[in-house]
Symmetry: C2
Subunit: 253 residues, 2 copies
Amino acid sequence: MVDKTSGVPVHRQVAADLRERITAGEYAPGDKLPSERAMIETYGVSRLTIREALSILRAEGVVVTEHGRGVFVRPPASIQRLSRSRLSRAARAENKGAFLADAAAQGFTPSSSVRVRFEPADERAAGHLGIQPGDEVTVRDRVMRADGLVVQLAVSRLPRTFTRGTAIEEVDTGPGGAYARLEEAGHTIGHYAEHVGSRMPTPEEASALQLGQGIPVITVTRVAYREDGTPLEMNDMVLPADRYELTYEWAAE
Amino acid sequence: MVDKTSGVPVHRQVAADLRERITAGEYAPGDKLPSERAMIETYGVSRLTIREALSILRAEGVVVTEHGRGVFVRPPASIQRLSRSRLSRAARAENKGAFLADAAAQGFTPSSSVRVRFEPADERAAGHLGIQPGDEVTVRDRVMRADGLVVQLAVSRLPRTFTRGTAIEEVDTGPGGAYARLEEAGHTIGHYAEHVGSRMPTPEEASALQLGQGIPVITVTRVAYREDGTPLEMNDMVLPADRYELTYEWAAE
């Protein structure tokens, strides 16, 4: 199983063998891997080699170590995020916003904290919002929790011309959230666009989201447009990749 | 700028300061950072400290080192992938498939290599395709290149009942690709779903996609459904996160 004459470092061979067994489903998501002692026996290598092999798989996010309990195959992303239905007016009518719709669908207890501030738009925000750099925007900076754990960071920016005199400038935007307030003020939403990417977290994000080693973040920038095509809101979201799967559906055309 | 009495390791302080300047746009994407010599001067720290700070930012994918040229702020993702339009029948009529539509829209020279094989469906494929584990599927394993560089890995699986006797079992599926062949055979596509996630690459993916340190992959599993809701195809795609941004648009409802 391990070929000491192959020129490939032995710890890489062990990592490759474990990775293959995990991919093949021999060790399923959430399964505990064999003990160090058992792997030393199986592969005929040293404890250090096993530890180096596991360290590679940990950096890849393939396994997680739970101290005192052992090494486990990382479980699959557990929060399904279906963009269309979570943002529907029907969901808004029943809940306070998209994150509460997720919570209802997935059965977790949601909570969030919000800070509201006002600032001049930078180049990027101005580009997405169709305004001039320096124009004032209302910023809603949110930390979202599921069962007490932070699962999403979201910074929403709206041109202040659309938020003045509305509850969007308050900490509590009221039933249905900011989108409901925009529509009440006559800004009926016509369509949404989400721009999705991925990167490694900043140290602040890794700490807030309690990210394990080798776990990237998914970045989503959503822009909500009025029926006439005017951008109303830009929302920069950061999601832990080990917990979220995003689903988009559309009709063939 | 660096506080040697703060208890925060000095190289982390330097990394944090550089990260902030990059985020604020003082160093823009693609910009060269100051030389080591200049940074030693600015921060009043050792060469080793500067190197440790840059190593943190490299592992986060924030900067890239080009040997002999210097350290650069990573440029933004350059390939925009707009799901709806790239899969439209209009795009298929003009091109050979979605990847060629991307190439035409983004101005790169596309090429790809394909291997076709047949295998029994595993649990996951069977689940997405609505068939039994062990049922035969046609597998199209593709490596896609832009200007000669590998930019996407895509493994498509279709129940063999839909591909027998069609060019989908050939290396060259012909004009419009596999979706055009499915529709010719009477399987009109009704809708698509894409499931999007992110993780660190396997060593094989890192090598094939020439991924730099600290660059995750975006995973997209697309399922194409017939008008009656029967799944026709499941396509597992792996995209380098430093090159791709995925865009999804939908009407508010």
